[in-house]
Amino acid sequence: MALTKEQIAQRIARELKDGFYVNLGIGIPTLVANYIPEGINVVLQSENGLLGMGPFPFEGEEDPDLINAGKQTITTVPGSAFFDSAMSFGMIRAGKVDLTVLGAMEVSEEGDIANWKIPGKMVKGMGGAMDLVASAKNIIVAMMHSNPKGESKLLPRCTLPLTGVKCVKKIITDMAVLDVTDKGFKLLERAPGVSVDDIKARTSGKLIIEGDIPEIQF
């Protein structure tokens, strides 16, 4: 059975290491914060100018001056720091953020990503996505394996306007965990009950399958 969004987030959370500074994008990536493993301390960066993002505030305790990059009201944790947007993207560009998790419309087998624009539709803008993907040293994409029409989002080449080139390192979808390698998408794990053939059928970019592919354990 394909993973739920929560399960995708839960699986991504296993990629976190103690002491990581992490930037989580809007959508599934945001959920990762709910599954940080015991004993692992990570600091969440929000590119609008915060290190040490905490959970949503309690009802009635929202602070209009305290939001995340998705414009949601949030809180801080002890040890947090505020800074301006130039320093925020400065630390991203300088590789100080250890892991960036974001969503995508398409990823190519070379690690290109498209997630900001659909020709013919109203374009809202790239926000900080282009800065993040151009700079982050470790990018995990969290997304559904197929789009709502059932077409693969893992492609030989992206068909949509790019957000960044050769930057995605790992993809975690509802069907599988894959590394982006020089030779294509390397299948690492599969969702419980999802077969390698299912994944093959839904992956239009080059898929590398070596040996036995274990199921993701929950």
């Binding site: 929000s46 590119e47 609008n48 100018g49 915060l50 959970p55 949503f56 505030p57 309690f58 009802e59 009635g60 305790e61 929202e62 602070d63 209009p64 001056d65 305290l66 939001i67 995340n68 990059a69 998705g70 414009k71 949601q72 009201t73 949030i74 801080t76 505020f82 800074f83 301006d84 947007s85 130039a86 925020s88 993207f89 400065g90 991203i92 560009r93 290109d112 109203m122 374009v123 809202k124 803008g125 790239m126 926000g127 900080g128 996505a129 282009m130 800065d131 151009a134 700079s135 306007p161 790019l162 957000t163 960044g164 080139v165 050769k166």
Partner: protein, 233 residues
């Protein structure tokens, strides 16, 4: 040397049609509410607005859009605004979308007297079209120019009569960068104190960058997306 003005109307009195403005804020957080209201009241037209977002239909920069005061928006993200979308699709409004970090850095560059900066954001995408690409240490970068703005309009938490500013939490965002970048910089603050009352170590924007300052009253500080969690009983 008197930087203190009575109110937003006085602060923006010489902003004319066709001006290039920078407006601080991220979403509706840390936006110069009072100056936006004064610009709407004054009805100044054909503005170019450099602002990370375009507000919503009935708040923030959206109020100026509704009156068709804006000729061009330079932003990183302009969602959440139906009137904006209508004007854009009808060709009434011009929009230049640029990566958020590039936007921030181009403001900072202006304030730091750097004519241009290199950033990797947008390399290999349509953002790079027509731009100079340069290779440093195994990576490609785009040359991006410092912004030139007639007026920077920012919102701070506290300010003093010498123009020193302190921002609150994530309401800082683009405000200190734009404050440095305006030919004329206008600051509206929630609390204006006499020079000497702010801790000199805690100042985010030194007064040298600020030309006019006033204390706004009755800040609405609207929340764009209220997200909360339940208290455990």
């Amino acid at each position: 040397m008197n930087k203190v003005v009575a109110d937003a109307n006085e602060a923006i009195h010489d902003i004319q049609d066709g001006a290039i403005l920078m407006l601080g804020g991220f979403g509706l957080c840390g936006i110069p509410e009072k100056c936006i209201a004064a610009l709407v009241a004054k009805g100044v037209m054909q503005l170019t607005c450099i602002s990370n977002n375009a507000g919503i239909d009935d708040f923030g920069v959206g109020l100026m859009l509704r009156q068709k005061q804006v000729k061009k928006m330079i932003s990183s993200y302009v969602g959440e605004n139906a009137e904006f979308e209508r004007q854009l699709l009808s060709g009434e409004l011009e929009v230049e979308l640029i990566p958020q970090g590039t936007l921030a850095t181009r403001c900072m560059a202006a304030g730091y007297g750097m004519p241009a900066v290199y950033t990797p954001a947008g390399v290999g995408t349509e953002v790079a079209e027509g731009k100079e690409v340069r290779h440093f240490n195994g990576k490609d970068y785009l040359l991006e120019y410092a912004f030139q703005a007639d007026f920077a309009i920012v919102k701070a938490w506290k300010g003093d009569t010498d123009g020193n500013l302190i921002y609150k939490e994530t309401a800082r965002n683009f405000n200190p960068l734009m404050a440095m970048a305006g030919k004329t910089t206008i600051a509206e603050v929630e609390e204006l104190v006499p020079a000497g009352k702010l801790d000199p170590d805690a100042i985010h924007t030194p007064g040298i960058y600020v030309h006019r300052i006033f204390q706004g009253t009755g800040y609405e500080k609207r929340i764009e997306q209220k997200t909360v969690r339940k208290k455990h009983p």
